[in-house]
């Protein structure tokens, strides 16, 4: 397994080179000149030329590509063009509020969805199963924005149970700020999660080994929890683990509406202000995140199914 992990980590090198190339083409070749935006509405041609020089945009394309490769491997992203802050510090500052919201919301929504899925799989075909499916589809049909606007107005403004917006650092201060967006996150996630988990569990329920288990006299609940769920874990692990890197990137809409100073808002600001270094940093971090969590999900397969061997 160690050899497998080392090999997978080494695969990161060509993947990162590829990612760097795509980022380079996107920002340095396809995108326009950022200096006009960075200098504001009164920028002069001379000033724009000077800034291009200072930002290294006049360097050869190969040299600019090497800079991106270097930052991808060293994680030294330099300074933001727009805010002049150190990017690693900006990411560190933004990651905390983003994770305060996303981790509890993600964990709770995953656990609740899994429990509901097992429950409806147990009562498959019954009225309660139909009811949950209808609720999931109805829930998914309503836009996220509608949930945010209604929950914010009703629970925060009308009932006054939560803060309308904002964020405070430190436990338990942040709870009153993240509770409502976290609830919205959970409500938004339950629909698609339950539908996926239920399908995966039902796929397993009709397998031969389940029939064998039933014929041996095992109870339905034992079969569901000890046999079906375990075998259904591979697609569930893939589905869950691969979402983790996106947690770091933050939830753009929720962060915006609840004024949570996370990474989602930071990335959007960077996009609006042509802040290429920040955008590049976020693209690199998310790529690395996907590679690492892809590897973690592979490793977890062996836990879920000991028959899987790494070669």
């Amino acid at each position: 397994m160690t050899k497998y992990i080392i090999r997978r980590l080494l695969y990161m090198i060509p993947v990162l080179l590829g990612v760097s190339l795509i980022i380079f083409v996107l920002f340095n070749v396809v995108s326009g000149d950022p200096t006009a935006v960075l200098l504001g509405k009164n920028a002069t041609a001379r000033q724009m030329a000077d800034l291009r020089e200072q930002l290294g945009l006049n360097k050869s394309l190969f040299s600019q590509y090497l800079d991106i490769v270097k930052s991808a491997f060293t994680f030294d992203f330099g300074y933001s063009w727009a805010t002049k802050q150190e990017i690693s510090q900006m990411i560190w500052q933004g990651a905390y509020p983003s994770l305060c919201l996303s981790i509890p919301a993600f964990v709770i929504s995953t656990v609740v969805s899994l429990l509901i899925s097992v429950f409806v799989a147990y009562y498959r075909g019954k009225g309660i199963d139909l009811f949950v499916r209808v609720c999931c589809i109805a829930g998914m049909s309503i836009s996220a924005l509608a949930y945010i606007l209604f929950f914010q107005w009703f629970f925060a403004y009308k009932l006054g149970w939560f803060e309308i917006s904002g964020f405070e650092e430190g436990f338990p201060n942040f709870i009153s700020y993240i509770a409502l967006p976290a609830i919205i996150w959970i409500v938004l996630s339950i629909g698609p999660d339950v539908r996926f988990f239920r399908t995966v569990i039902l796929d397993e329920i009709y397998q031969d080994y389940v029939r064998t288990a039933r014929s041996k006299g095992l109870s339905e609940i034992t079969i569901l929890l000890h046999h079906v769920l375990r075998n259904a874990m591979i697609p569930i692990i893939t589905y869950v683990v691969i979402q983790i890197p996106s947690l770091i990137l933050g939830a753009l809409l929720l962060e915006n509406f609840f004024s949570i100073p996370g990474l989602g808002g930071m990335t959007l600001n960077a996009l609006n202000s042509s802040d290429f270094p920040v955008m590049k940093a976020m693209a690199i971090i998310s790529s690395v995140g996907y590679i690492i969590f892809g590897l973690i999900s592979d490793i977890l397969y062996t836990v879920a199914d000991p028959r899987i061997k790494f070669k």
């Binding site: 995108s31 326009g32 000149d33 950022p34 006009a36 935006v37 960075l38 200098l39 504001g40 509405k41 009164n42 920028a43 002069t44 041609a45 000033q47 724009m48 000077d50 800034l51 200072q54 300074y79 805010t83 002049k84 802050q85 150190e86 900006m90 500052q93 933004g94 709770i108 606007l149 914010q152 107005w153 925060a156 403004y157 006054g160 149970w161 939560f162 803060e163 309308i164 917006s165 904002g166 964020f167 405070e168 650092e169 338990p172 709870i175 009153s176 509770a179 915006n256 509406f257 609840f258 004024s259 949570i260 100073p261 808002g265 930071m266 600001n269 996009l271 609006n272 202000s273 042509s274």
Partner: protein
């Protein structure tokens, strides 16, 4: 599992009802900023919201009077208005004695030192420092004798040499200095009231280095030891702030409005300012209704909830003592033709036909709740050069005349005219306005397409002249029509601020002559002539001068709309008794 559920429920209930209590012991001013703050380095503060924050901790030599209109400059860090040499080129300034920078680790023993002439000269040099690429450089570009040369010379060095003397920047003594201009620049004092020229201390810049923008050390009425990119900024009263008093004069009627009740009182009048950065409209609106903000600009989506019949405050808000302010802005919205494009450059009648086809009254109703003023030309009301009685003959909805002019332009019924693409910013309202414009132009046979862009894409297309038309709004940087007329001055063509690339030698000659004149009837007459000249030429389809609507809580005192409000917050106050009483209603 049971215990986990209990813990989760416990955490949830901890959060319920734990909304923060209001503070009735300290005079706290609660404000909302609708945009993120880009930092506190004055030379880079180009947007209004960052300017408002910088103005709480930093100060300039001058500021706009908080009450008098038209806007009037008054000395701030300067002792008085400068003396100006006969040729109008050399300005001698005296600065106030005993003004202290905020206490900061940047100074020996952490104690802020006195402001000196060197600080002003240093702050001006920073604006020109080629290593810093200041956003505000344009205000002094090619204005001060020797400054451009200093910038040029230092571009080649590893670090800029601040010790080098500059012809146009002379220290006379610790509290006196002179600035020599290259040519007359009547807007110079306005430039010294803008955030770009706020005074910083060299020690702070050097001590904090690249982190200087997060450690504002000014002389202003409030202090903010560290700025973090969170969504709340908390300022406290500067304990070493000099003796500065609330003005005892204002505009006619200010007395009746209670705006002079604090006359002669030492400012700042509040102990703390809390600024919440809230980008979306709904949380802003709900926060204000929960009395978590004292002042609030009504977003378009909530206009009908706040204002009845386009003028009156909604009764539920009125019952809480909330007040409504409608304030005409110094801005102009427009659709600009790219006059570099041969389609428009040589075809004035086509431009005029397009202008006549837009039903502005309907647009005003749809997009501005009928509160905006139709722009007859480029200069907004409130600035010299605007004549209320002047009516642009092409700013009206006249389809018959539009069709006639279109035919004379060579495109009868729009035949032979290619579809015209209007570039705009990726925003719902901007798109809706173009769609309304397009629907109107369909009636004379002109096809309009919408080009949606992110802000950087739009700026790139305009600066590289890759557009046929684009739409934008221009807000005043200072109260002088020159700031608007420059948008049509040929030497400012793309990538400069003249994105329409309009060139008219007669207009350019007038602009060149007028912009070196001090404010005078002669200059105003020249501005009027230029304004009316471009109205007939229609390099733009003139849009609107917009109105901003604000709501203020009953306990907020001394609020009066200011277009250039960087230093306004020190004059605002909170009536704690009223707040305590009325808060029960929220």
């Amino acid at each position: 599992m049971k215990s986990l559920v209990l813990v989760l429920c416990g955490i949830l209930f901890m959060s319920l009802g734990c909304s923060k209590d209001r503070n009735f012991d300290e005079r706290e001013l609660h404000l909302i900023s609708p945009e993120k703050i880009s930092g506190f380095d004055p030379i880079h503060v180009s947007d209004m919201y960052s300017g408002n924050e910088s103005g709480k901790v930093y100060e300039g030599l001058f500021e706009f009077h908080p009450l008098k209109r038209p806007y009037e400059l008054m000395p701030n860090l300067a002792e008085s208005l400068p003396t100006v040499s006969e040729d109008g080129l050399t300005y001698t300034f005296k600065i106030k004695k005993g003004v202290l920078f905020h206490d900061s680790p940047a100074f020996p023993n952490g104690k802020g030192r006195e402001l000196k002439s060197e600080d002003v000269l240093y702050s001006i040099k920073r604006l020109a420092d080629p290593k810093l690429q200041a956003k505000g450089w344009w205000v002094l570009d090619d204005r001060i004798a020797g400054l451009n040369e200093w910038k040029e010379k230092n571009a080649a060095l590893d670090a800029s040499n601040y010790a080098e003397e500059i012809e146009g920047l002379k220290k006379i003594d610790d509290h006196t200095f002179a600035i020599k201009l290259k040519k007359p620049f009547p807007q110079f004092l306005y430039a010294l009231a803008m955030p770009y020229t706020f005074i910083v201390a060299k020690e702070a810049v050097e001590h904090f280095g690249k982190e200087f923008l997060n450690h504002p050390v000014g002389t202003g009425p409030f202090i903010l030891p560290v700025f973090e990119q969170t969504n709340r900024i908390v300022y406290t009263k500067n304990p070493t702030f000099r003796e500065k008093f609330y003005p005892s004069e204002g505009e006619e009627g200010d007395d009746k409005l209670g705006l002079l009740a604090d006359a002669g009182k030492k400012i700042p009048l509040v102990d703390k300012i809390i600024v919440d950065i809230i980008v979306e409209a709904q949380p802003k609106w709900l926060s204000f209704q929960k009395a978590k903000a004292d002042l609030f600009e009504i977003p378009k989506d909530f206009f009908d909830s706040a204002v009845v019949g386009g003028k009156e405050l909604a009764p539920d808000l009125k019952s809480k003592g909330i007040r409504l302010f409608a304030n005409a802005q110094l801005d102009t919205t427009f659709f600009a033709f790219n006059n570099d494009d041969m389609l428009f450059k040589t075809n004035k009648k086509l431009r005029q036909a397009i202008s006549l086809s837009w039903n502005r009254e309907e647009a005003n109703k749809l997009f501005y709740n009928s509160s905006a003023v139709q722009a007859q030309s480029v200069i907004p009301p409130g600035l010299g050069g605007y004549r209320k009685e002047f009516k642009n003959p092409y700013v009206k909805y006249d389809l018959e005349q539009a069709k006639k002019l279109l035919a004379e332009a060579g495109y009868p019924g729009g035949k032979g005219l290619p579809a015209i693409t209007i570039q705009t910013r990726n925003e719902t309202v901007a798109r809706q306005i173009i769609e309304h414009f397009a629907k109107n132009l369909e009636k004379i046979g002109v096809t309009i397409k919408v080009g949606m862009n992110t802000w950087p894409e739009l700026v790139n297309k305009v600066t590289k002249r890759q557009h046929q038309m684009y739409t934008m709004a221009w807000g005043a940087d200072y109260p002088d029509a020159e700031n608007f007329l420059g948008l049509l001055y040929c030497p400012n063509s793309s990538p400069g601020s003249n994105g329409s690339n309009y060139c008219n030698p007669e207009f350019d000659a007038l602009y060149k002559a007028a912009t070196i004149l001090q404010d005078s009837p002669e200059r105003t007459a020249m501005y009027e002539k230029m304004n009316e000249m471009v109205a007939m030429e229609n390099p733009w389809v003139f849009g609107f001068h917009r109105t901003k609507f604000y709501l203020s809580q009953a306990w907020l005192k001394n609020y009066k709309f200011m277009e250039f409000n960087h230093s306004q917050f020190q004059y605002l106050s909170v009536d704690l008794e009223v707040k305590k009483e009325l808060s029960k209603k929220f």
